[in-house]
């Protein structure tokens, strides 16, 4: 069944988009991530312009993280003050990202910027995750208990001023690294059309030493607000949010996420992290190929004024 998308201005098969929503939702539910880094490239692949894809995926991630955050809120497994502080940085980052997005689009370098960011970020995070999870699996096979200690060693940024005590997370840290993390996540999210969950979760665990139990819930609150903010800002600045496309993605995504979450609970945590690492890395490699391999056509067109 074909439906005409009012902003993307092309007809798409509803079931194809719905299926993509379910598939990415399944993965996002399984790993506790938004799945934007998969959804945005998929939409571009079916012919939707990068601008509309990035902006519409933002609202799709807002929906899936809202249903996730509700579940964690019921269990009180999230740290609202920490999420609030991350958001202060996140909002500035998102605004900066949306601004740079518009600038790159007019300069014709948006595709390159998105490609490069994907390769760099997904490559680094993928390798780190694979490395860490392989060690954890090896440790488990040797029969040693998982490494549960929270090292007391302090990195340099723990000495910064403006210290604040986050009760739920049982940490006492400077607000400056918290704001910086929020800023980076918001900035990248707006440019790349990703929620940044796969970046934020390791950042909170390894840099700020937030207990794993509250990390995912807190990350979902942050993802929810930055992505809802990105939706509004993209709509106001670039007029590139396709509400019809977003709705189809959301419906597919929230259904897929439920099944993904159930499947994920049956797989051991370090194996899950290894799978996610492999997934992240392979998407990164896919983008690297596009940048390095000679394109089929060296020329491309972009409409910059007039009716579209």
């Amino acid at each position: 069944m074909q439906i005409y998308l009012p902003i993307a201005e092309l007809p798409v098969n509803v079931f194809l988009i719905l299926f993509m929503g379910v598939a990415v939702g399944f993965i996002s539910g399984m790993f506790g991530i938004g799945g934007g880094f998969l959804m945005t490239p998929l939409l571009i692949f079916v012919g939707i312009t990068p601008a509309v894809a990035v902006a519409s995926v933002a609202s799709h991630i807002a929906a899936s993280s809202f249903s996730g955050a509700m579940a964690y809120w019921r269990r009180r497994a999230l740290d609202l003050p920490l999420a609030g502080m991350l958001l202060m940085g996140g909002f500035i980052g998102t605004a900066g990202g949306v601004w740079l997005f518009a600038l790159l689009r007019s300069a014709g370098q948006l595709g390159l910027a998105i490609g490069l960011s994907y390769v760099t970020l997904l490559g680094i995070v993928g390798v780190l995750m694979i490395n860490e999870s392989v060690r954890a699996i090896a440790r488990a096979q040797r029969g040693k208990p998982a490494d549960l200690r929270r090292p007391g060693s302090h990195a340099w940024f723990h000495g910064l001023p403006l210290k604040f005590r986050f009760k739920q997370s049982r940490i006492y840290v400077s607000l400056i690294p918290v704001w910086v993390i929020g800023f980076v996540i918001g900035f990248l999210g707006a440019i790349m059309g990703i929620g940044g969950g796969f970046l934020l979760v390791p950042a909170l665990i390894y840099l700020l030493r937030v207990p794993t139990s509250v990390v995912i819930g807190t990350s979902m609150v942050l993802t929810l607000v930055t992505m809802a903010g990105a939706t509004v800002m993209h709509a106001a600045t670039n007029q590139s949010v396709d509400a019809v496309l977003a709705l189809i993605l959301m419906v597919g995504g929230v259904i897929g996420a439920q099944f993904g979450a159930r499947t994920g609970q049956n797989i051991r945590a370090e194996r899950l992290r290894l799978l996610l690492g492999l997934l992240v890395l392979s998407v990164g490699i896919r983008f690297a190929f596009d940048l390095v391999i000679r394109p089929d056509d060296l020329y491309s067109l972009q409409v910059i004024a007039g009716p579209t």
């Binding site: 009012p6 579940a71 929810l224 709509a235 929230v254 996420a257 060296l298 020329y299 491309s300 067109l301």
Partner: protein, 256 residues
């Protein structure tokens, strides 16, 4: 320049005293509506060549060129080059007045209808369409602008927005014709001009124009209009819709 040429042609045509043939045309619709199930359309143009007693006889028969021009757009053509092992956009050329859609429909191959000079002067066929580049950008070299121009035409043909077909005009009788105008699903909205040129023995005999418009209606029009004029509130509404969907899902799949 193209408009001036067209004007001169029309003036010249009017100046001929013994008014020759006249084209009468009718279009299957003048408003193409884009609704949520729009997957493209095909318009049909009917017409007849009116002759009277004074009209000279045309033993060679007639040739018809139907040119459909979509709304004007400013289109940047970019070229990728390899920089530090990465393919990135480097050079570009802007066409500030390019038709978004261009269809050339004829009854036989364009080059058989008239000689090259005539075709170029009257802008008949994809290859002869005037495509001015932005002032100041063209200065470098003709070779460069030709490369961009041919890449532009090639890409537009690939997208299905520019097309030329030699057997898309059918003469039902020597003076009654029918032409099809295909509109792919992703054509831009706006006004489309139809320009008909009637040829006999390699020269243009008369010219006629018609037009139609493509509009979004109903829900599509509403969404696009709100997104354009009230971007901020549109964004808020989309974000609210996301929350609602997420909340519904968390309620529907709640296990406790």
């Amino acid at each position: 320049m193209s408009r001036i040429l067209a004007l001169i042609t029309i003036l010249l045509a009017c100046a001929v005293p013994a008014r020759a043939e006249q084209l009468i045309t009718s279009l299957s619709t003048h408003r193409v509506l884009i609704t949520s199930n729009f997957t493209g359309a095909e318009l049909i143009l009917f017409g007849s060549i009116e002759r009277d007693a004074e009209t000279v006889s045309r033993p060679g028969g007639y040739d018809l060129v139907v040119t459909v021009l979509g709304p004007r757009q400013t289109i940047v053509t970019r070229r990728k080059d390899r920089i530090l092992g990465i393919w990135a956009n480097t050079d570009s050329l802007t066409f500030p007045d390019a038709p978004a859609y261009l269809a050339v429909r004829t009854n036989r191959p364009v080059e058989e209808i008239a000689d090259a000079a005539t075709l170029q002067r009257l802008q008949v066929g994809l290859a002869n369409i005037a495509l001015p580049s932005a002032p100041g950008e063209d200065a470098a070299s003709n070779a460069r602008s030709d490369a961009f121009r041919s890449a532009f035409l090639r890409l537009k043909v690939q997208q299905g927005h520019y097309r030329e077909r030699a057997n898309a005009v059918t003469f039902l009788t020597p003076t009654l014709f029918r032409a099809t105008i295909p509109l792919p699903a992703d054509v831009p909205i706006g006004t489309y001009e139809i320009d008909l040129k009637l040829f006999a023995a390699g020269a243009m005999v008369t010219r006629e124009s018609n037009a139609f418009e493509i509009v979004k209606v109903g829900f599509e029009q509403f969404v696009a209009h709100v997104a354009q004029t009230h971007g901020f509130f549109y964004g808020l509404a989309t974000a609210a819709m996301a929350m609602l969907t997420g909340w519904l899902a968390s309620v529907a799949f709640r296990r406790d």
